[in-house]
């Protein structure tokens, strides 16, 4: 302990294993999982807006996949049915896409969802000022705090958007079955549908991480003394 300081250079050497400050990945996973579990209701609320937005996205995309499946069969009856159900198909079209208006609504819903996540996470960070300050007093680096929050958001995002994507897809299928009958199951390209679900899940995860980024940076940068000053 006595040779802690280096007389020549003012810096301390950190190559030595004793000089490390670390938080192993497994442990960070454990801590963030625990935080979610303990604050389950709050996590649920944060995740809820994500679930809704992602399920909407996946609903729209799977609808398109179903329509494309119909078109691929080159069955004029199904084509007629699509036109009746609101798809605006020109005679030569072999692919159906969502209308610009629909796309805007999807984008808006995702945007609203991100704002919701930022809001909820900022609140969560404020609630945890003291915890963050304590961790910093125990030697946590800014990056540990950032990592914990990102991991939490990642887990919430993964679970939330998977649930959202699945429920959106299921609802879309159900809707199609009611409207067009079981022909849906034979005409639909399952590859495309699964692709849509994965895409929606990916977008959901990304949005969840995007939403937590600012609150997490705020938390990570906080000086311990500021964090401790917060009264409860």
């Amino acid at each position: 302990m006595k040779n802690w300081s280096l007389s020549s250079s003012k810096k301390m050497p950190f190559k030595h294993p004793d000089r490390l400050v670390v938080l192993p990945f497994k442990k960070s996973l454990e801590i963030s999982w625990q935080s979610i579990r303990v604050r389950f209701v709050r996590s649920l609320i944060t995740t809820m807006s994500l679930v809704l937005a992602v399920s909407f996205l996946s609903f729209v995309n799977v609808n398109n996949d179903i329509a494309n499946g119909f078109l691929a069969t080159r069955d004029t009856v199904l084509r007629e049915a699509l036109n009746r159900s609101g798809y605006d198909l020109s005679p030569g079209d072999t692919r159906a896409g969502s209308s610009p208006k629909m796309r805007w609504i999807v984008i808006l819903s995702l945007l609203v969802c991100v704002v919701g996540i930022v809001n909820a996470q900022l609140m969560a960070v404020t609630e945890r000022f003291r915890e963050i300050g304590t961790m910093k007093c125990l030697g946590a680096l800014d990056s540990f705090i950032l990592r914990l929050f990102l991991l939490e958001a990642g887990m919430q995002g993964l679970v939330g958007s998977a649930i959202g994507a699945l429920s959106g897809g299921l609802f879309s299928l159900l809707n199609a079955v009611v409207r067009f009958g079981t022909v849906v199951f034979t005409s639909l390209s399952w590859m495309e549908a699964v692709g849509s679900l994965l895409f929606a899940t990916g977008v959901g995860c990304f949005l969840s991480l995007l939403g937590v980024l600012y609150p997490a940076i705020v938390a990570a940068r906080m000086l311990p003394v500021e964090a401790m000053r917060v009264e409860h």
Binding site: W4, S5, M12, V21, V22, L23, L138, A140, L141
Partner: protein, 245 residues
């Protein structure tokens, strides 16, 4: 006395806070040396700047001017990583409000600094249990902070402060939120730790009970050190405390 090493040295430290448009001078140039292994109490009324000084020594806050040396290293020169290392390995903190992480069990709270220090999980758990036994909580390490009393929470904090065998333990009003008996228990726990493990204990307090165990008392008033008394002088001045206004 000559062989005593200064573990903490504070040199001409000032700290101003911006309160609205006015500047408040919380510390007006403090010089202080603390020898290794001492039990030092920083005493003073609230608003005297003792918490500010305490934060400076702990590297939790930076002085406006002046320097703070821990083991003769100027902590203003340290980058974030080195500062984190200092907080992790060199200093153990105890707070008035315990600051136990609520979502973790007692044992997890104690092991966290060891994990940060790169100790493997099994070793950390073993040492954590041993430390909790040392502070008298051997049977309660699976409990959450909410299931522990104030005194027990503070014991967890003491165990946590000891986790990486720090050279210094900083205690900010460690008895402030505790009743008389529990406060006394914590004080004697700290005292025995300082004696057995040769840890330097620096505590900011206005708890008179602390006087009995302190090797040195630093009286601070209006951002300046009023006087420093060591143990021998103390018995004389204790009588004066009552006569002071």
């Amino acid at each position: 006395m000559a062989e005593l090493r200064n573990i903490v040295r504070v040199s001409k430290v000032t700290r101003t806070f911006q309160l609205g448009k006015t500047e408040v001078l919380a510390l007006k140039g403090v010089d202080l040396s603390i020898a290794a292994g001492q039990y030092v109490s920083i005493m003073g009324p609230s608003g005297s700047g003792k918490s500010t000084l305490f934060n400076m020594i702990g590297g939790l806050d930076k002085p406006t001017s002046g320097k703070v040396f821990i083991d003769e290293v100027d902590i203003a020169q340290l980058d974030a990583y080195e500062l984190a290392w200092l907080r992790c390995r060199k200093i153990g903190y105890i707070f008035q409000t315990f600051n136990i992480i609520q979502v973790m069990t007692a044992l997890e709270n104690v092991t966290l600094p060891m994990i940060f220090a790169g100790m493997n999980n099994d070793a950390a758990v073993a040492k954590g249990i041993q430390l909790l036994k040392l502070v008298g909580l051997g049977d309660r390490f699976r409990h959450k902070p909410s299931e522990l009393s104030g005194g027990q929470q503070q014991r967890v904090a003491v165990a946590r402060a000891l986790a990486n065998d720090p050279a210094i333990i900083l205690a900010d009003e460690p008895t402030g939120n505790l009743d008389l008996t529990t406060g006394e228990e914590i004080i004697s726990l700290l005292k025995s730790l300082s004696r057995e493990r040769n840890v330097t204990i620096i505590s900011a307090t206005h708890d008179i009970k602390m006087l009995n165990v302190s090797d040195e008392v630093v009286w601070i008033r209006d951002g300046l050190i009023e006087r420093i008394e060591n143990r021998d002088e103390l018995s004389i001045s204790v009588g004066q405390i009552n006569t002071r206004k």
